[in-house]
């Protein structure tokens, strides 16, 4: 339905409303806010979008999204090349980076094995991972995949695929989240936490 705002603005609202977390109503509010702050919001945003559109690409090394063929993480010599963290998607890589705890390198799989979606091993970036794990400088591969049936099926599959490489394969711990109270947790999380308990003191 037209807002009487002109077809260019309607087109922008329509495109914005396709973004995750936005619907037509919130897209309309966002577009209006940008137009009302043209010099502070709309023009810098348009420039940033044009820049990203011209430069964004997939890193040839790890599969991260960056603005050059080799992303900033892979190009950083201070990163520990002996540690490789395997993640499902770029959003997971960015989540790991937000913690600032991991100083190794990454490998983005591009999905997980899925019985329902018919995603098999050939759809994932596995050959590159096996080659990477075979490099002499790599000491440990950390599987940071989701604690879902598909995520853990993929983790087991990768662990077996890397069995021939002389690397340690580990996975993230599973259990009670920070701030979690047992009363509010599901049974599966509590049983995983119980299994992964550790000695105190």
């Amino acid at each position: 339905m037209s807002d009487g705002a002109g077809k260019e603005i309607e087109r922008l609202i329509e495109l914005m409303s396709r973004l995750p977390g936005l619907g037509p109503r919130s897209a309309r509010r966002a577009v209006l806010a940008m137009i009302q702050r043209r010099s502070m919001m709309l023009e810098p945003l348009a420039q940033a979008l044009a820049d990203v559109s011209a430069t964004a690409r997939e890193c040839v090394e790890c599969g991260n999204i960056g603005t050059s063929d080799v992303c900033a993480i892979c190009a950083d010599p201070r990163r520990d090349a002996s540690l490789v963290c395997v993640v499902e998607d770029v959003s997971d890589l960015w989540a790991m980076e937000r913690t600032a705890q991991f100083r190794g390198r990454y490998h983005v799989l591009g999905g997980v094995l899925s019985a329902l979606d018919g995603t098999g091993p050939e759809e994932l970036r596995l050959p590159r991972l096996v080659a990477l794990a075979g490099a002499p400088e790599v000491r440990e591969v950390i599987l940071a995949l989701g604690t879902t049936v598909d995520g853990q099926t993929t983790a087991h599959y990768i662990a077996e695929a890397l069995a021939g490489c002389s690397v340690e394969v580990s996975s993230l711990a599973q259990g009670v989240p920070v701030g979690g109270e047992l009363d509010y947790l599901d049974d599966g999380t509590i049983s995983a936490a119980l299994r992964a308990r550790r000695v105190m003191g």
């Binding site: 019985a115 329902l116 018919g118 049936v149 099926t153 599901d186």
Partner: protein
Amino acid sequence: MEWQDEGVLVAMRRHGESAAIIEVFTATRGRHAGLVPGGGGRRMAPVLQPGAQLAVTWRARTEDHLGTYRVEPMQARAAQVMHDADALAGLSATTALLSWALPEREAHPALYARTLELLDALPGPDWPLHYALWELALLADMGFGLDLERCALTGATEGLAFVSPRSGRAVTAAAAAGQPWAAKLLPLPAFLHGDGDGSPGEIARALALSGHFLEHWLAPALERRGLPEARARLVSRLGRARV
């Protein structure tokens, strides 16, 4: 319309940003799909894992609508087997085969009971035996049961060693000896007729047997091409365990 039941989650797909469409193998209504508002979100993710036992309330304006589910977790099974690659493959194969084979909204109470037995056995050591028997039960419930009680040629109940790939009936080693078609017969694992120990080798032969009939009888009847990838992965894993 509204009903309440319990069942096993066999499939879940995200729908839009926050909802999910799930398939539940219910006790009295068979495989039944429905929309779970908020089912694609973080809060519901641990609940909507394949194999989970759920108490469900289904609501729709008319019977033929997709309808919406309200779900309450009863038992989370995936977390119990996530550390065990073989059992996790067993869980995936079970739910994938149920989603693949079961007609929608048709009750299969005997198979439902067998499925619960299998899923409850998954954290234990002898689940591959349960799984092999469950696949034969699935075939039988879909109308493609094998006759492994007596020889198709002689009626003998002793010395059964093979199964005819065409009739699905057992054949004794004596009856098959010297016959030109003997090489085409499928080996009958001893534990399927009361002997044997269900060793990894026997389990692998049992899966080859049920796999043949799933692929050549059930798949064409369902107009499906091939078996679910999750089953192939399980067969490969258990086959390697045999070596």
